[in-house]
């Protein structure tokens, strides 16, 4: 296989991946079994009374009243929601999933809260540990493989 053929195949696969990204972006809101955050951002009043599953960043909590405010990102900008029956312990900056009924335009009565990150720093823990994972992969890989600089391909190390 020549460099050209290899290049054409790689470009073709990258184009295919991009096409999948566009397809997913176009179709996801219809496939998601609940009103999608993009839909809620565009038409806040259209889904009152429906069940929703949303991911959001906690911006405020009120433990006395069992409520919290979360910020939900969407393609049409971020919007804030008040979550009632918020029974989880989360700091500001934490990330939660909220399943519940949309009782007003921007209010959810939660049936279940899942804490994804307890705080903003929990996200940094995740990224930090992930970077260690990526470094481990690179070290392990290049212990057994090397780049042949004549052909620009991975080849087995002779001593590997």
């Amino acid at each position: 296989m020549t460099h050209w053929q290899r290049g054409v195949i790689v470009v073709g696969l990258v184009a295919m991946l991009f096409g999948m990204g566009v397809h997913y972006g176009a179709v996801e809101a219809d496939r998601w079994p609940y009103p999608h955050e993009d839909t809620l951002a565009a038409e806040p009043g259209a889904h009152v009374g429906h069940e929703v599953l949303l991911f959001g960043t906690v911006t405020d909590t009120n433990p006395q009243a069992d409520t919290a405010t979360i910020r939900v990102e969407s393609d049409h900008g971020a919007f804030s929601l008040t979550v009632q029956a918020f029974d989880a312990v989360v700091e500001r900056g934490g990330v939660v999933q909220v399943l519940g009924e949309l009782t007003a335009e921007r209010t959810v009565d939660a049936d279940r809260i899942v804490v994804v990150n307890h705080s903003g720093s929990a996200a940094w823990y995740k990224y930090g540990v992930s970077v260690i994972g990526a470094v481990l992969v690179l070290i392990a890989f290049f212990r057994y493989w090397q780049i042949d600089t004549d052909t620009w391909r991975f080849e087995v190390r002779r001593n590997g």
Partner: protein, 162 residues
């Protein structure tokens, strides 16, 4: 998703255990599997270039999510396999795809508020039920992965020298 270190350690463990019975699955392929397990994590490119920036640039809807799906893993594994020398390419593809799929299975076991995971079987639009084993920032996941990884590593070295 689980952090990458846990995913990589669990992938190392499963493929190393597999290598005890499968001829040809040696350490140079186990490290390729560890790389394949990282494919779905490429979805985190979103932190560098937000999908909305791409949508605004090209004027089309766009999501990185397919990279963390079985369809996306099949394509990315193809791209990475093309970087290997000709004689390694088929086996590299098979290992990368299997490991990427395993990584999706781990990720599909995390908690979702309604009990169903995301569309990781895309292009099939199904949300498989999740056993709800962990939430993504849970340090206990790393604890388990470290214990499993260290145990498998020890047994592997012991059987190799014994």
């Amino acid at each position: 998703m689980a952090e990458l270190l846990s995913t990589v350690l669990l992938t190392y463990s499963v493929f190393t255990i597999g290598s005890w019975w499968i001829d040809g699955l040696d350490r140079r392929w186990i490290v390729v599997a560890m790389g394949g397990a990282a494919i779905p994590d490429l979805v985190k490119v979103d932190l560098l270039v937000d999908a909305r920036v791409i949508e605004q640039t090209v004027g089309l809807p766009f999501s990185y999510t397919p990279v963390a799906s079985i369809g996306g893993v099949a394509v990315v594994a193809g791209i990475v396999a093309m970087l290997f020398g000709t004689q390694w390419r088929r086996q590299a593809y098979a290992i990368l795809f299997a490991a990427g799929g395993f990584s999706l299975l781990i990720d599909g076991a995390r908690v979702y508020a309604d009990g169903y995971a995301n569309f990781y079987l895309y292009p099939v639009w199904i949300r498989p039920p999740t056993p709800e084993l962990f939430v993504s920032a849970d340090p206990a996941v790393l604890g388990v992965a470290l214990i499993v990884g260290a145990s498998v590593f020890s047994v592997d070295r012991w059987t190799a020298t014994g």
